[in-house]
Subunit: 393 residues, 2 copies
């Protein structure tokens, strides 16, 4: 090892959610100090990162303070304003991903235009200004229903409407007007299922593609992921990985890029959404891959050689734990049954208060028999959610 | 899940070394808050546990402060005085392991007497008061050499002497007198190799036994571990696990118990040392087992059902990274080569300053081919140590 080793760098992380929290685990192993900008004291990642500041990711001064002495900054989310990222870069801080890449995860119209120019297969789409333009968009294709999305600010099913006619689109335009953004119309794809292709990419251009997974949404929120996607045509899997690698390269993404895809009934893949950070559809990798998406995100943004994304088990299933309708004072109380029932179960909790519909953790199960793995993961997640009333009496 | 769930408990951890640091990773996943008593600011675990106090583990008031509001306390090391543990227990704090168990890891004379009474196979041994008693001990057996150990305070080869005659024992008696402890004489076992049997045991009495591993020492410090021990007779492996489970049960150990064993050339196992905490010979489990020793330590001391200790790979090899003779300003500089050479390599650094002979991290490698796994792990550890001079020019 060279003697002129640099000192250990500190990585700044903006945002204190569960993604930053889960970056902290591989950061411990790598001996990589993190410095966190948390939106409030005691949020998910602030519980586990010692070097932390509280501040707003829209406040340039807070961003400058937290990156002081750092050479690299990365993100728990995609909400830091582009102009702030540009100011940090001008000050010599490497933003990973950078503003030029991140805008494609922030603005769906920009993303659609760019992917269209690259020839990446996407649902038919058009920015629309009013109900008449929605109707015209529908008429130019297969008619209604049409999907409307605000171009910025949506997540987990928020900011998305499926409309049956032009008049139905008022809510979307009202939300867009209130947020000062546009509305993007997209064909409603007749999909067989949703897939996700994750890649890690470093500033040097090294890239690693995880196996393509199948994801199931409930109420617009990722609910369940099966890795790899069962019965996926190998050519289509390769195409999905190639699409993700190509997007990562063309957009100069650094860190994790998640490409959410529709698998159509006629055997194509169309890009649905992009995320430029560790992604819910990659949580399986914590227990199911040689190198987790969180470790590879750190290695990518620090421009270290990437770890193998190869699976360690035939099947890995992730199921999210969402806050249920029944009051649950603590997820901790779910451990005795969940762990006693399944000594192979892996549980990841986020340290968040349980509220209905809120993502508060996830479970991973792996093994050779998909039915068994699915049953174990689903049971455990339902148990933590409080949905198994009979057993909890 | 029951609605009358208790709030999440906080686990107090005494000692800020790398074992506490590596407990922090599964604590994040389990959503289990840790409160650390660190011996100094910025030590290994203090870099990664938010809720921390600085204090001396020999100071009862410091122990009382750090355990305030906690129901359970556990340990990074075995050095907390017995009377302090008893005072904490009297105040309603569950010490895991408790003072009655821990004394067997603190005092080798107590340990030998207890294991002897239990009929657990051990090297022939006797507490000796002077050189004449050493000579008498030798004469009663196979003669010299004889192993002398201080009954308390030794670790990593410190406090151990191999003597060729009675006069040679002066250093041991001087060290013992200075420390106010006794000297234990033991036969020098003609061993084929050293084994280690790790078990996790909960206060409820549930126990899980990890596969028996082979460990190699260098200068009295654990250097390399192969899991499982190659070519180990299955009956002997079972016997080693049974010995560890029996000791854990009889001594009422809670948390991880490591039983270091000699495998004799005539096919027996003899207990060498006991450790009641996650142990260097269990670090392989972080990447090689379904549940790491660190997670099972937390689950055991919190009396949660234990996770499976089953191996995930045919072979897992751990090699320690020790500070080398050549100055190395940062282990971080070892990543580019180590990770580029082996995308499957797992690295665990402790955030410690590099000093010659100091344990500053370890690597894990796993796979189907033991020779390949050994080569990969040894190369990486040597690289981080700075021993591969030619390649670093």
């Amino acid at each position: 090892m060279p003697d002129d080793s640099p000192a250990v760098p500190t990585l700044a992380v903006i945002g204190g959610g569960q993604l930053a929290r889960m970056m902290a685990q591989p950061a411990i192993a790598l001996g990589l100090p993190l410095r966190l900008l948390a939106e409030a004291p005691g949020v998910s990642a602030a519980q586990v990162v010692v070097d932390q500041q509280v501040g707003d990711h829209r406040d340039l001064e807070a961003l400058r303070r937290v990156t002081e002495g750092c050479t690299v900054v990365t993100f728990d989310h995609e909400h830091v304003p582009t102009e702030h990222l540009e100011a940090l870069e001008a000050a010599g801080i490497a933003c990973r991903p950078g503003p030029g890449a991140l805008v494609h995860a922030q603005d769906k119209a920009v993303m659609r235009a760019r992917l269209g120019a690259l020839g990446v297969p996407c649902p038919r789409n058009r920015v629309v200004a009013d109900a008449d333009e929605v109707a015209a968009f529908a008429a130019d294709g297969d008619g209604f229903p049409v999907v409307l999305k605000t171009t910025r600010g949506g997540y987990d099913g928020k900011g998305v409407w499926v409309v049956e006619d032009g008049e139905d689109s008022a809510a979307a335009f009202a939300a867009a007007a209130e947020a000062g953004v546009q509305v993007l119309a997209e064909e409603k794809v007749d999909f067989r299922r949703e897939l996700s292709a994750l890649v890690a990419r470093s500033p040097s251009g090294q890239a690693a593609a995880y196996p393509v997974v199948a994801s199931t949404q409930r109420d617009g929120i990722c609910h369940e992921v099966v890795a790899p996607a069962p019965d996926l045509d190998p050519d289509l899997a390769t195409e999905a990985q190639q699409v993700a690698l190509r997007i990562a390269g063309e957009l100069d993404v650094t860190g994790i890029l998640a490409v959410e895809l529709f698998e159509t009934r006629d055997g194509r893949v169309l890009v649905n959404e992009l995320a430029m950070r560790p992604h819910n559809t990659g949580h399986w990798s914590q227990d199911g891959a040689v190198t987790s998406q969180f470790e590879n995100h750190l290695r990518a943004v620090m421009d270290l050689p990437l770890g193998s994304p190869a699976p360690r088990a035939r099947w890995t299933v992730m199921v999210n734990i969402l806050g249920g309708e029944r009051p649950v004072s603590s997820l901790y109380a779910g451990f005795p049954h969940a762990f006693a029932r399944d000594p192979h179960l892996r549980v990841h909790l986020y340290g968040k208060d349980v509220r209905p519909g809120r993502k508060v953790g996830h479970v991973n199960a792996y093994g050779d028999d998909l039915d068994d793995v699915l049953e174990r993961a689903r049971h455990a997640a339902a148990w933590f959610r409080g949905d198994l009333g009979e057993e909890s009496e």
